[in-house]
């Protein structure tokens, strides 16, 4: 035990609450996760590498990571734009649009999957016009990218929105009085302020998209080497009763997830540190109270 494990408090229930938390966490998360690593340890390094670096697995990483990255970039651009519009302007049905941002977070992935496929299928609402200009959306890599963009949509909007709302207008007034144009003020004053939050949201969207399964498999076409995402490859290996193969790829994905989770935590610290420094004394009070509610970090 550390010298001072816990600071003194007159509130009761610490032992019970932390004890139950640790018990439940171990039972549901930690023990099953370590079983996965135990299973991998039955493979030799050579066998592990053979599975993880097979051409079919490599093709699936390229698709999963590539499409997730493109999706996250689309969300970075439109996320900042949507957050800007929602914070700065008023227009009809704004509240409705604001609430709807979280839809990809609440809508079951299978429902999103069949809905997107129906919209982008060759005879779908958007699929038909796209087909007429020679763009095949459903059952191609473009379809995978569309689904992964959908799934990551809330993250950048929801991380940037509170930061943009808290920015002092004085900063922009100062920039304007010093002769900066609106575009200059945006790129030199506003963008640097929202950048940490935007990058945090970008990383969250990317992390979510890499592991996504349900919304992708309907629209992907699922052709090995071409439109097969990594989570689907794990399922395929399982259905072939190749447990070792499935586990090896899963461990590779787990390691990536851990790294991304660590990156998100560090980014969030950077982001909140900058916000703390930039906000004036009076809004430091709000920083402690209102921000957590306004800027709910969507589960992350």
């Amino acid at each position: 035990m550390a010298v001072i494990f816990k600071q003194k408090s007159i509130l009761p229930g610490f032992g019970l609450a932390l004890g139950f938390t640790m018990f439940y966490l171990s039972l549901i998360v930690l023990i099953p996760l370590s079983a996965t690593f135990w299973k991998t340890s039955t493979l030799t390094w050579h066998q592990f590498w053979h599975v993880v670096a097979s051409p079919r697995a490599m093709a699936s990483y390229r698709l999963s990571f590539g499409a997730s990255l493109i999706g996250a970039f689309i969300n970075l651009f439109f996320g900042v734009l949507v957050a800007w519009v929602l914070v700065r302007y008023s227009f009809p049905l704004k509240r409705l649009f604001d609430s709807l941002i979280d839809l990809p977070f609440a809508l079951p992935t299978a429902v999103a999957g069949i809905a997107l496929t129906t919209v982008y299928a060759p005879n779908g609402w958007l699929g038909r016009p796209l087909e007429s200009i020679g763009v095949h959306a459903a059952y191609t890599r473009l379809g995978v990218t569309i689904a992964l963009t959908f799934i990551g949509l809330p993250f950048v909007v929801r991380t940037v929105q509170p930061v943009l709302g808290d920015l002092d207008k004085e900063l922009e007034e100062a920039a304007a009085s010093l002769g900066a144009g609106r575009w200059q003020t945006f790129t030199r004053v506003l963008l640097p302020a929202i950048l940490p939050a935007a990058i945090t949201g970008f990383t969250m969207a990317f992390a979510r998209a890499v592991g996504e399964y349900g919304s992708v498999i309907f629209i992907a076409g699922n052709m090995p080497m071409r439109t097969e995402i990594t989570p689907l490859l794990i399922i395929t290996r399982l259905q072939e009763y190749d447990y070792a193969g499935a586990t090896a790829i899963a461990v590779a994905m787990l390691v990536v997830s851990f790294v991304l989770l660590l990156a998100i935590n560090l980014l969030q610290r950077w982001s909140s540190g900058r916000r703390g420094r930039e906000s004036s004394q009076e809004s430091a009070f709000l920083g402690a109270t209102l921000k957590p509610v306004l800027g709910r970090g969507e589960g992350q």
């Binding site: 549901i28 609440a106 429902v111 109270t289 209102l290």
Partner: protein, 303 residues
């Protein structure tokens, strides 16, 4: 002091940004940006949502209702309700306990604990299902022992419940934590000083303060529990009428080209998602008001 606090509260983003000429854009730029945002959200959010209800009612209300006469569909709905009915209360109790321990006390290793609670959210749903197969499956760590004792977890209901608990693990804790931290310990300490017991303090002081965050956390957890697809797909074994949940049944119907039925079942889950968003909007509005009231009260005190 009091004046400065109430003035910052009025300039909270929700109350709108008052633009002057020097710090605003020309009208044409403004409308162009709004149009782009609305178009983007329309294509990515409205269209998929609209197509669910459009296809579900494609053959009229009778066609919609016919989907729910299939015994396999009803069995899937029952199993989904059962899995969520077990997973959500368990995760709620965990969420409250974790938020109490982390939000009210300072101890070593707190941020590590928060990261571990976040873990299930960043793990691919397929991997979430796989870890239980590796633990309880035929070739798994405990598989042989379970077979010897006639206990089935994988390809049976317990596996589905476990996978559901795992994927919805962080939601209640994550929604409660910022709220419980924002409230601070003052009110609880006052209650204890006045002679309230620990449980009394929790039920009469803490719970009313966090009720909206708790409600949203539970509703979100429930929506995710009922809609989980990837993890449940791995552990379910897809036995129609026995181990098919609603999302898995949607997949079967869709792959059978029974589009109206697939979207009819999907429309129930979409309605649940919309309900979740409504509760979130109302809850956020309520907690914002509550915190503003609290801040105003504190400002008055310090006067």
């Amino acid at each position: 002091m009091a004046g400065s606090i109430s003035s910052t509260i009025r300039s909270v983003p929700a109350s709108g940004f008052v633009a002057s000429k020097a710090t605003s854009e020309p009208a044409i730029v403004r409308w162009l940006l709004i149009a782009t945002a609305v178009l983007f959200l329309g294509v990515f959010l409205f269209l998929p949502l609209a197509v669910v209800f459009f296809t579900a009612f494609h053959k009229g209300v009778a066609g919609y209702l016919r989907a729910f006469q299939d015994p396999d569909t009803l069995a899937a709905i029952r199993l989904t309700l059962l899995a969520a009915g077990i997973a959500v209360p368990l995760n709620m109790v965990f969420g409250v306990a974790a938020a109490w321990a982390i939000g009210k006390f300072e101890f070593v290793g707190k941020s590590l604990l928060i990261t571990l609670i976040d873990l299930p959210f960043s793990v691919s749903p397929v991997v979430s299902g796989l870890i239980y197969v590796l633990l309880f499956g035929l070739q798994g760590l405990l598989g042989p022992w379970l077979i010897a004792h006639g206990i089935r977890i994988i390809f049976a209901v317990p596996g589905i419940v476990l996978a559901t608990i795992f994927v919805t693990f962080p939601f209640v804790a994550r929604e409660l934590l910022p709220m419980i931290q924002a409230q601070g310990n003052d009110e609880e300490e006052a209650a204890l000083t006045l002679g309230a017991s620990g449980w009394q303090t929790f039920f009469k002081v803490t719970l009313p303060n966090i009720k909206w965050a708790l409600l949203y956390g539970v509703i979100l957890c429930n929506a995710r529990a009922m809609g989980e697809f990837g993890a449940v797909s791995v552990v379910s074994g897809h036995i129609r009428g026995l181990t098919d949940t609603m999302p898995l049944h949607i997949e079967i119907l869709y792959n059978d080209y029974q589009f109206v039925s697939a979207f009819s079942v999907a429309s129930l889950l979409a309605l649940l998602a919309l309900l979740t968003l409504v509760v979130k909007s109302v809850g956020e509005w309520q907690s914002r008001r509550q915190l503003a009231d609290q801040a105003a009260g504190e400002a008055k005190e310090s006067q």
